[in-house]
Amino acid sequence: MLLVTCPYCGPRPEIEFRQAGEAHIARPAITCSDDEWADFLYMRDNHKGYMRERWRHVAGCGRFFNVVRHTVTDKFVASYKVGEEKPAIPAEAAAGPRVEIVR
């Protein structure tokens, strides 16, 4: 079970949270094009590596907030409140050999 840091309550067990999809998807104005609207509704990034995501501390303080999580290692590197400045995405560590050989 992951340990998720709520920016209000601190580190708490994953089961208190609900993941709420990719973060920073702005709802476009009603005058937007059909393509822009389709992007907003249905198109999401889902790459290997760090992602900004929304989570909600649903069985806690109830707040939606944002995190930076690595989709392969599951490591959370930042949690921040809605409206706060986005923290930088860390550089991806060079993937060393799975097995190092020594004598």
Binding site: M1, Y8, C9, G10, R12, P13, I15, E16, A59, G60, C61, G62, R63
Partner: protein, 187 residues
């Protein structure tokens, strides 16, 4: 004119578990319960008339006499006061707050259990994933969390005393789980 309707507890018909010298489980007495939602300023204004000033520190409860305010979120507090006229008290409290806020009577939505004894934390940890050591969850801490699949509000009122508040329809599930988790402590 009909007779006044009687009150029926959500715990009616349920057997509360107990383990001698290790755990007692009692139903919290009927109380006025409010959900207060608003800014810290609104909460401070309420505190001036309510008694305990709602905490702005996360996950902390304040209490004064028989009234308490539990921090549940940055704009949400859970207020407890002795049973009485909930609508009248709400009106008088709201009148003292200039800020936008919501004060909603949830006296009947929630019910409470008090777990007391040296095994109370262990029995809670049978289904609650939080660290309930005195350092991680000190006396006076309050938070919403989970007891297995039920959402609860957990408030540590003493070293070996916890108050657990939850929606009334979960009473059977939570009492049943507490009993199951308490069982082994009888040995």
């Amino acid at each position: 004119m009909s007779e006044t309707a009687t009150r029926l507890s959500a715990f009616a018909g349920l057997t509360l578990p107990a383990v001698r010298n290790r755990l007692s489980v009692t139903v919290a007495p009927d109380a006025i319960r409010y959900s207060l939602r608003g800014s810290p300023a609104a909460a401070a204004a309420l505190g001036a008339v309510f008694g305990p000033v709602p905490s702005t520190t996360a996950c902390r409860a304040t209490s004064a006499g028989d009234r308490a305010a539990l921090w549940l979120g940055p704009d949400e507090w859970y207020l407890l006061a002795p049973d009485g006229d909930a609508a009248a008290l709400a009106a008088s409290l709201s009148a003292a707050i200039d800020e936008p806020h919501a004060l909603v009577d949830i006296s009947h939505r929630n019910v409470g259990l008090i777990l007391k004894g040296p095994r109370a934390a262990d029995v809670l940890n049978g289904a609650c994933p939080l660290d309930l050591s005195e350092t991680a969850f000190p006396v006076g801490m309050s938070t919403r969390t989970l007891y297995a699949k039920a959402e609860i509000i957990l408030w540590r009122t003493g070293l070996d005393t916890f108050r657990v508040e939850f929606w009334r329809s979960f009473a059977g599930y939570i009492v049943g789980l507490i009993a199951e988790n308490a069982r082994e402590h009888a040995v």
